[in-house]
């Protein structure tokens, strides 16, 4: 049985999802402000890291890395509702791409699992 990342299609799945996902995030008034002023080109690369991680793909992030990456955002008010919104957009993206519901749930579970680190608590 192959792992989640392989079932989703690996790197190609990340590439197919990243721009779709980022458009949804920028269009979502609940969270768009956290991405203000950051260059889109650079953000796309960071979002690839995010998706690779959420898809269960190879990554070397530690909990401390996640704390550091989001510290600045937590200072600006990042909370549970924003994490929920990101996961919601992730779900919509995967459904748009025709990913089966079972895998959508597995991805959401991985994203949920780093919530405490992302929120620095």
């Amino acid at each position: 049985m192959s792992n989640l990342y392989e079932r989703l299609g690996g790197e190609n799945a990340v590439n197919a999802a990243v721009e779709l996902f980022y458009r949804k995030v920028l269009a979502d008034g609940r969270i768009a402000q956290f991405f203000d002023g950051v260059d889109i080109d650079q953000q796309i690369a960071k979002q690839k890291s995010f998706l690779t991680m959420a898809f269960g793909g190879p990554n070397n992030y530690t909990g401390a890395d996640m704390r550091n990456a989001h510290k600045r955002l937590v200072a600006k008010g990042l909370n549970d509702s924003h994490v929920d919104a990101v996961i919601e957009n992730l779900n919509y993206t995967l459904r748009d791409l025709g990913v089966p519901e079972k895998e959508v749930k597995e991805v959401a579970a991985i994203a949920h699992s780093v919530r405490d680190d992302v929120l620095n608590r």
């Binding site: 790197e11 721009e19 890291s49 070397n60």
Partner: protein
């Protein structure tokens, strides 16, 4: 063999370039360490990085030797440098300096062995430490000089200094840098070039390079200016679009009474609804570039089809 600038770096079998740099005590940023976030970006100035270390980079970056050290297991000798290292300063001599419009000059300098792609920018250095970026409007295969279009800001340090220069005077150049050039574009793709003020300089370079390389698809160039004088290549570009059926020049004079803002960004966004498959080049002030980049991306243009340079003021 691995070299970081002038320094030999030991590379152990199975070790990535990032690990080797870190072991050698060289300050190398990283984050994901798996080839996604691009935090570790470096550039090879000699040798060819393996293709798997360039996954996700733009065609322009690949052409310039950029790569990701965290996923780079070199198979041949490499000499690398930080991505923003512009290299050694070179001597340059002013060949011509003349007005294009009331506040815009055309500066042509001679510099030996300065390889570049039209649309890239260089660092102009005067008086030892006054440095500013300027984009290249010239074409290396057609012009024996480097050409820049420079807006003179009233209190600008470089602007004021340039006002005192004359042909024969010496200065320095370094670079080039930037990936806003004609690379990774299909010959029959629609090209959309949008800029304001001296943002025309790199677009003019890109336009000439596209034509030189036999671009066949329709090319549309929007140039925005606050006054008629500011459309400083108006005659030449009008003549060009009369001669070449696939070139369409759209001068945009700022119209403060227009409902949507009346600037070149508003005009282009209104006229260009179907942009999904265009190759887009955006140059000029930060706000203009940021707005167009975002709006075109949201309309469905992939970021790999959007190239841009924002003329961010220095310091």
């Amino acid at each position: 063999m691995l070299k970081f600038e002038d320094r030999l770096v030991e590379l152990r079998p199975g070790e990535t370039v990032l690990e080797a740099l870190e072991r050698a005590g060289i300050d190398a940023p990283s984050s994901c360490r798996s080839g996604n976030c691009q935090t570790c970006l470096h550039r090879a100035v000699e040798g060819v990085p393996p293709p798997e270390s360039q996954v996700g980079l733009t065609q322009g970056q690949k052409a310039l030797g950029f790569f990701l050290p965290c996923v780079c297991l070199p198979t041949s000798p490499l000499t690398i440098t930080r991505p923003d290292n512009v290299g050694a300063r070179r001597d340059a001599v002013i060949r011509a300096i003349e007005p294009l419009a009331p506040n815009v000059i055309r500066l042509r300098v001679d510099a030996d062995d300065f390889a570049y792609r039209p649309g890239q920018f260089l660092e102009l250095v005067v008086d030892g430490d006054l440095r500013r970026h300027y984009s290249l409007a010239s074409h290396p295969e057609e012009d024996p000089f480097l050409e820049m279009h420079i807006r003179l800001h009233e209190n600008g340090r470089m602007s004021r200094r340039l006002g005192e220069f004359k042909p024969g005077d010496r200065l320095h150049v370094a670079g080039p840098s930037g990936t806003c050039f004609y690379e990774g574009v299909h010959a029959d793709q629609r090209l959309l070039l949008i800029g304001a003020g001296t943002g025309l300089a790199p677009l003019y370079g890109v336009l000439r390079d596209a034509l030189k390389r036999g671009h066949l698809g329709p090319i549309r160039l929007y140039h925005g200016a606050r006054s008629r004088d500011g459309l400083y290549l108006d005659e030449e570009l009008k003549a060009l679009s009369r001669t070449l059926a696939h070139v369409d020049y759209r001068p945009c004079l700022l119209d403060p009474d227009a409902p949507a803002g009346g600037d070149v960004a508003a005009t282009a966004l209104h006229a260009e609804q179907d942009v999904k498959d265009c190759a887009i080049f955006l140059c000029g002030g930060e706000n203009l570039v940021r707005r167009l980049k975002r709006d075109f991306f949201m309309r469905g243009v992939s970021m790999k089809n959007i190239r841009s340079d924002a003329f961010t003021p220095s310091g």
